[in-house]
Structure formats: C-alpha cells, structure tokens
Amino acid sequence: MNHFDTEPFLLSFRLAAITTILLFLFSVPLAWKLSQTRSRSKPFVEALISLPIVLPPTVLGFYLLVALSDRAPVGMFLKEMFNMDLVFTFEGVLIASCIYSFPFMLQPLQSGMEQIPAKLLEASYVLGKSKLETLLHVILPGIKPSILTGVIITFAHTVGEFGVVLMVGGSIQGETRVASIAIYELVELLDYGTAHIYSLILIAFSFVVLMVVYVLNHRYRAPGG
C-alpha cells in the first residue's frame, strides 16, 4: 500500500516560501526600527511579537479562527470587500503562518542590525547616500548571516507547523492539507508505510536545513571568512 503524493509537500513548501518572503519584507523595516530605537515601548513591541514562541498553537489558532470567520468583523470586512474566505483556505493559513513565524524572522534580523557599527552608517550618510540606499547597500549586505538564518529558520519553521494550520485550515486536500497534517492523518488511518516515507522526507529536509545554517554560521564567523 503506497499512497505517496507530492501535493502535501508542494503545499508546505509553497506556504513556507510565501510566508518567508512576506515576513522578510515586513521584518526588515521593523527590525531596523527596533534596532535603532531607544523608546520605552520597545520591550512591549518585542514581547508582543515574540508571543508565538511561547504560546500554545491552539491559543493562536482559536483566536485566528474567531477573527477570520466570516461572522466576525475582520472576516466579514474581507469577505465583503475582496470576497475573500480566510477560514479553511490557503490564504487563511498563510496569515496564520505569518503571525506564527514572525519572531523567527524578526529576531535574527534585529540582532544582526544591532551589531552594525554606527560609524559605518554615518559614513554612508556623509557620502550622500539616502536611507534606502544605506539599507540596501550597507545594512543588508552587512548582516548576511543573520538574513540567511532568519530566512532558513522561518522557512523550516513554517514547514514544521501543525497545530495552527489544523485549527485554521482544517484538512482540505490541495488547499490546507500540508505535509505535517498529511502525516497526522496517515498515522490515524494506520497507513504507517506512507507515514514513514513522509516523515523521513521531513527529517532529511530539517536536518539539511539545520546543517546549512550551522555551516554558514561557522563560515561567516571564521576569521577572514
């Protein structure tokens, strides 16, 4: 008995790729703001964004389900304005993933940016570069290891997501049945053969991802590297 299907993996990877891109775009300005600010509200914002690390996925899943349902104000608004259904759809799971994986992108970027010497930025401004140019040509190239860590960990963390997706997305084939949920279902159906194949693929994937992160970290930290 072999029910191997690539669809759950493609879904997982598509979800992870879009989540990573969106979070990268959101996180760069926010991480920059947080790394430069001395405002008293900084710990508040940091704590808020780090919540998904410690919260059980069920808490997030529960509130997202309540908020995104087309009976709630937010869900109703999106439904009326854009005819968008967010519960049990790929788009809904995408929103959930972005919230759930936010700290995994933001934290490496922020800590990388905090380590950029102020001198370098001043030099760039003195040479007449705008803020955007400084961001693109000085800051981002300067924190490459942090960016790679953030991108890779966010991608992998999204692939490994389970509870939130199950609560917000249900298990809709081709829409929200990602690899982790497909495994849960296969185990429940006692189709251990296919469950092994899916699981081994994810183990291999996760191992390679972590290897890459560690190799990169060593390379960038090594003197003269």
Partner: protein, 278 residues
C-alpha cells in the same frame, strides 16, 4: 571607497536574486494551479466531508462512482475526514464542502435546521459498532470483561463529537458497567484516532466495524487483537443511522455523487465494508 561601494552593490544584487526567483516561481505555480482548476469542460471539483468511520470505504466509493457514472470518470474528488461533530463545526464556519456524509442523522439535521444545506438529510447506511480488545482479555463474555483490573485503558471516540463514541457510552451504560469503567477512558478526536489508540496502546476500544476493512484490518491482525459485535438491543441503532446532506446546489458532481450514494452499487460496496443498508 567608491570601489568598495561598487563591490557591495554587486554583491547585494546577487544576494537577493534567489529571493526574486523563488517569489516568481511561487506566484507562477499558484496561478497555474488555479487556471487548471477552473477549466470549463471538466466536471466541477467535488469536495466531500466524510465522517471518520468512512475512511477506508470512501476511496472505494469514489472509484466506483468514477467508473459507473458517465461523464465523471476524470472528476476531481477531494476528501476531508474528521469526526462528524468537527465537520459540522467546520461547515458552520463556511468550510468549502459540497457534500457531507455523517455518522449519524443528528448533525446533518442540525445543519438542515440552520438552512445550511440543500434539502433534508438522507440516510445512506447504518453503522455497526464493535469492541476491539487485546487477546489476553476474555472479550467474548461481552463488555463486562472491561471491569477486570487487567484492563487499564479503554479507547473511545469523544462522545460529544463522534457518534461511535456516543454509541460506545450507550453500550456500556445499557450493560450497567459505565460508572465502573469510565475512569479508564482514553478519548480520541475521531473514531479512527480511537482505532489507532487501540492498535498502539489501549487494552480495548470501541470503533466502527467498517474500519476492519483496509489497512486497519491488517494492523489489527498484526497487533494480535480480537473483536466482537453487538446485538441491536445492546445499543440504540438510531445513534448510528448515517445520513448525508448536499451543501452546494450548483455543483453538478456533488448532485451526481449524492444520487450515486442512494443507488444499488453504493449500497453493495457499503454492505461489503461493514455497514448495513436497507
């Protein structure tokens, strides 16, 4: 200094190229997927919400449907399975299902009362509850064996969500042992999870007879488990009168499948897979 900036520029451009590439790939494959789904000639995609007890029989029914009903040989049929209770909750939250096959009549009836269905529920089969137990237990005696101290864990599906769990509670209560064994319950979120609990860890459990047909039956043998059925007076058969409702009036594949489920061929398949059909 100028030289340095130039190098940085070049590096940063190369660095972001992979991101753009991935973004492009993701967006393009999403678009392609949607286009193929909305092609006009093919029959509409059918999304079935099926109660967990149908897990093994559904693929057989779908296969027969594709073979028998002309024009639907290539139809795209997608299944979502869970306990009838969770599927009902999902349908209330506007999950995109076209057809709902439940494990009882109550849940589809509730949806019908809330005007979420196309027409009233229709019974397609009667479910058959069984008890599965480890070979060391004297299960042929009936559920009284569960009061024995050697039985530590009894797997049942959550009675609030799964009709087969409700039937299990009913069986134990009619036999007068419910209060003695209640503390041994391990709850599954659906009848298939309960089956998995019995196969892997519990001493006994209550599941649907239909789960013995398929991967489940083989795993049961491998685990050295035995099972017994129950006479109709041991439980309330009305609890497992399995009904279906149509949820989308515009989906022609859903309507065709709804008709197919009332036909002889579907009845035969259900009977061969552990259900009773009138």
């Amino acid at each position: 200094m100028n030289f340095n900036v130039a190098i940085m520029k070049k590096e940063s451009r190369c660095f972001f190229l992979p991101f753009l590439l991935v973004a492009f790939l993701v967006v393009s494959c999403r678009g392609a997927g949607e286009q193929s789904r909305r092609s006009t000639d093919e029959p509409a995609t059918l999304h079935i919400a099926a109660a967990a007890n149908l897990s093994y029989v559904m693929p057989r029914l779908v296969e027969a449907f594709r073979e028998e009903i002309s024009g639907y040989g290539m139809s795209d049929i997608r299944l979502t399975r869970a306990s009838s209770g969770s599927l009902t909750a999902q349908i209330r939250n506007s999950a995109p299902f076209d057809l709902f096959l439940a494990a009882n009549t109550l849940y589809p009836q509730l949806l019908y009362n809330e005007s979420l269905t196309v027409g009233p529920p229709l019974v397609y089969a009667r479910g058959v509850p069984i008890m599965v137990y480890q070979s060391g237990i004297d299960g042929q005696k009936g559920v009284e064996c569960l009061t024995d101290a050697s039985v530590e864990k009894i797997a049942i599906a959550q009675p609030e969500l799964a009709p087969y769990g409700e039937a299990a509670v009913e069986i134990l209560s009619r036999a007068g042992v419910l209060q003695q064994v209640e503390s041994k319950f391990v709850y599954g979120t659906s009848v298939t999870q309960t089956f998995q609990h019995v196969i892997t860890a519990a001493d006994a459990g209550f599941i649907a007879a239909s789960l013995l047909y398929g991967d489940g039956g083989r795993e049961l043998e491998k685990a050295g488990l035995e099972w017994i059925g129950f006479p109709p007076e041991a439980y309330n058969p009305a609890v497992l009168r399995q009904a279906m409702v149509l949820l989308d009036s515009s989906n022609s594949t859903a309507a065709a499948f709804f008709r197919f489920m009332q036909g002889e061929r579907a009845g035969e398949i259900l009977e061969k897979n552990g259900y009773r059909v009138e």
